[in-house]
């Protein structure tokens, strides 16, 4: 009944694991036998990590090619994860054995025999909360994503990875991913560049500076829902403030939320306006920390204002820019939901239907818990991937400290 027998898959993963770790251990002059044993077990665990709960369903005969492909990817990912973890862990443990004097004690660390117990007790509340409200729901999401499940249904049915295969062949969903990515990119770029521009002007000690700064940060105090309502009042094509004055003064109206090329920009604008306060706040604080001496020195050396900004100030701000990049990306992907729900409900023609909004439509409005769980997992991986990419891409370009 299986296309490929599970035992063969596990054996293959174990073999790959053994070869890989023996090779790694050789390279680091560690025992190859130990490497082989560790490699076999890591390979087996890696293969079973996703396939045990799924019961190797992706390799059943009645599944299609796409299911099979997802199964292979899952095994590959599981094996790579386990092997990397095993190899890193082994190297650390074995190294420590060889250098017994690496007894590092940081100042401020807990001391004494009961140190570990105290630390554990102090950590316990956080861990319990995390486990209950983060990890448990996450495992539940994994489980649900393989089920046909609806709110109020008397039963659930296991359907393997069908939700995912349907998603990958759903043009609507792919369009939604493109929309999300585009809108997030635009929001992040606009929010960061505009707030940097504003912050460079607002951080200077000018008369009434505090008032300006407070006013600039204000929009951030509004929830995306309120921001959405405000923009709806402004841009409502039929009875909005903007169209009213356009009609009055110029005698024409713009179908702000009706046009699929304009509507996403209204959402981007609203999102930018909403999150910019936060970015300005961070940049003002950051700019006040840039040592004035550097800029003075550069000025004496004959650098003009542009050179000073792009060669000195901007690189010094890079840790903050990076921080803002990560937080505004998260905002653009998740928190713009409130805006979209109020402004466009994902329309017109799904041009503002982000991945997050799709999850809501499917899971909350449609009560289709299984499909929504699968979608939210995909969204989760999407954002994790994006964040990892940001970390990778920015490595070496960030200057911490002057």
């Amino acid at each position: 009944m299986y296309v490929i027998p599970p035992i063969l898959i596990v054996a293959l993963a174990a073999l790959v694991g053994a070869i890989w770790l023996v090779y790694r251990f050789r390279k680091h002059a560690l025992s190859p036998v130990l490497g082989a044993v560790l490699g076999v077990s890591a390979g087996v665990v890696g293969a079973l990590m996703f396939m045990w709960p799924l019961n190797f369903c992706t390799f059943e005969r009645e599944r299609d090619q796409m299911d099979l492909a997802i199964g292979l990817v899952l095994i590959f990912v599981g094996t790579v994860l386990c092997l990397t973890a095993a190899s890193n862990l082994a190297r650390r443990v074995l190294r420590r054995e060889r250098t017994p004097d690496s007894d590092e004690t940081h100042p401020g660390a807990f001391q004494g025999a009961s140190a570990k117990v105290t630390a554990a007790v102090l950590l316990l509340p956080t861990l319990v909360v995390l486990a209950l409200f983060l990890y448990l729901p996450m495992f539940e999401t994994f489980r649900l994503s393989t089920q046909l499940a609806r709110l109020g249904a008397p039963r659930t049915r296991f359907i393997c990875v069908t939700h995912f295969t349907r998603l990958f062949s759903d043009t609507n969903y792919i369009q939604s991913a493109v929309v999300s990515l585009g809108m997030a990119a635009a929001t992040v770029f606009l929010a960061i560049s505009l707030s940097l521009l504003i912050a460079t002007m607002a951080y200077r000690p000018i008369r009434g500076g505090r008032i300006y700064r407070t006013l600039l940060v204000w929009p951030y105090a509004l929830s995306p829902v309120v921001a959405g309502i405000i923009f709806k009042l402004l841009f409502n094509p039929a009875a909005g403030v903007l169209n009213h004055y356009l009609q009055l003064i110029f005698g024409f109206q713009v179908p702000w939320l009706l046009d699929r090329t304009i509507a996403p920009w209204i959402v981007i604008l609203a999102g930018t306006w909403n999150i910019m306060g936060f970015c300005i706040l961070v940049y003002i604080a950051a700019l006040q920390n840039v040592p004035a001496e550097l800029e003075e020195a550069a000025a004496i050396d004959g650098a003009n204002a542009f050179q000073r900004f792009f060669r000195i100030t901007f690189p010094l701000l890079s840790p903050y820019t990076f921080f803002l990049l990560v937080t505004t990306t998260t905002y653009a992907f998740f928190d713009t939901f409130g805006l979209i729900d109020n402004l466009t409900r994902g329309g017109p023609l799904k041009s503002t239907s982000t991945l997050m909004y799709q999850v809501y439509v499917v899971g909350v409005e449609g009560r289709d818990l299984g499909r929504a769980a699968a979608q939210s997992l995909v969204l989760f991986l999407f954002v994790v991937g994006l964040t990892l990419f940001q970390f990778r891409a920015s490595r070496g370009r960030i200057v911490y400290g002057a």
Binding site: L148, A153, A238, R345, P348, L349, V361, E365
Partner: protein, 465 residues
Amino acid sequence: MFRCKRLLLKVFLLAVIAVLLVPINAPINAPASAQSSCTPDSPCEIEVWIVFTDHRLDWALERANEFMARHPEYKVTITPQESYFTLLDSYALAAEQGTTPEIAQVFEVGTQFVLDAGFFKPVNQIIAGRDEILGEPVNFEDFIPVIASYYSIEGEWASVPWNTSTPILYANMNLLRQAGLDAPLPKTWQELDAACAELQPLVDNGTITGCWTMSFESWLFEQWLAQQNAELVNNGNGREGRATEVNLTSDGAIAIAQMVKDMYSKGYFVYTGVRDDFRGSVQVFSSQQAAFMINTSAAAGSVAATAAESDIEILADRMPYNADVGWTGNIIGGATMWVSDGLDPAVEDGALAFLLFFSNTENAASWHQVSGYVPVRQSAVDLLEQQGWYEENPNYLIASEQLADSQITPATRGAVLGTFSETRHLITQALENGMLTGGDVGEYMAAAEREANVLLEDYNLLFVD
């Protein structure tokens, strides 16, 4: 001092841990001890969930007080919820924890779902042949036939009707007269199209944005489908057997999508830009940007209010139909009141007695006057006629007449399917796609049909043994 602080810290931590370790699954609301009888001293509680938060909630609260004065052995509390969707979702979640209210207002779209989930007890079974409950008469024959046929499932009364509506046409007579038009109002799509051509000069000179508007929702599509006697799902629109296939590619369905597209591309139909935008559409009509509006009869109240404010004359007529096919009838919309399953018999009787009181002749009539919803009883219509209500407010009669004249067929009884709300989203999306893009409406409807069928198949896998 330091020791003392450490001790305090330890005590605090222990307390935090103790709180965190309290069993989470402990029942929060243990089922109330079985009460065999309710007395004025210890009245039985009847909680009612409804979706109205405005003056309509006040109306319900008044009825609850009147009922409690008549039956002091019951205490009725009315809890408003945000929307039909949230009410049903909250109910489903409450059902998992055993904390459901005694009565809930469920919209027509949720009918199959609540039947499948087994949340409620059919009122027929509670009545069990009695002709009065605690002195409140049972006379279900009095309900308007089309309403009765919608809410009786397999010939059995499942719930008690309350707020029922049907879409009608509203016309701004001031604007029509400016364009040289007058009553009678357009009866068909074709006549509406012709009237719009006459109104075009007003659009051109900027007086109005377009000819007509509506809330862009699947409900109106379903109405036009029923008018053409076309069914939305198979097996007698899901009435004769469980629906297994959605049909969005029938001639009737395509004709509607095409009509909407044509009206939009000619600039006649004013789209607010948002699907299911009831408020937006009323706003367009009230601010005199469109001369006509097709909308639920329940909007009559607010339309009348704005008409009085801005001194415009508003006339109502029946929902225009497709003259190529003719008019069979309209479906009802709205919601009914359901009694939870598994109640103590005394509470159950109290709940039903409340609903019977709630929907009796006088209350059905006053509810109509307050809300614009259709009077659900024939006796209430008669009462209103006697009082001369319809002479003063002729617009209010249209909806009742439209329903009364409806021929009862599987199509006009309305579809029943478990995935109705999701299917609605797909329908509005397909209509919007067809309207706003140059593509063929048939293709969008076919795509929506395929998706709706997958959802329905999934649903039936979970709910059917």
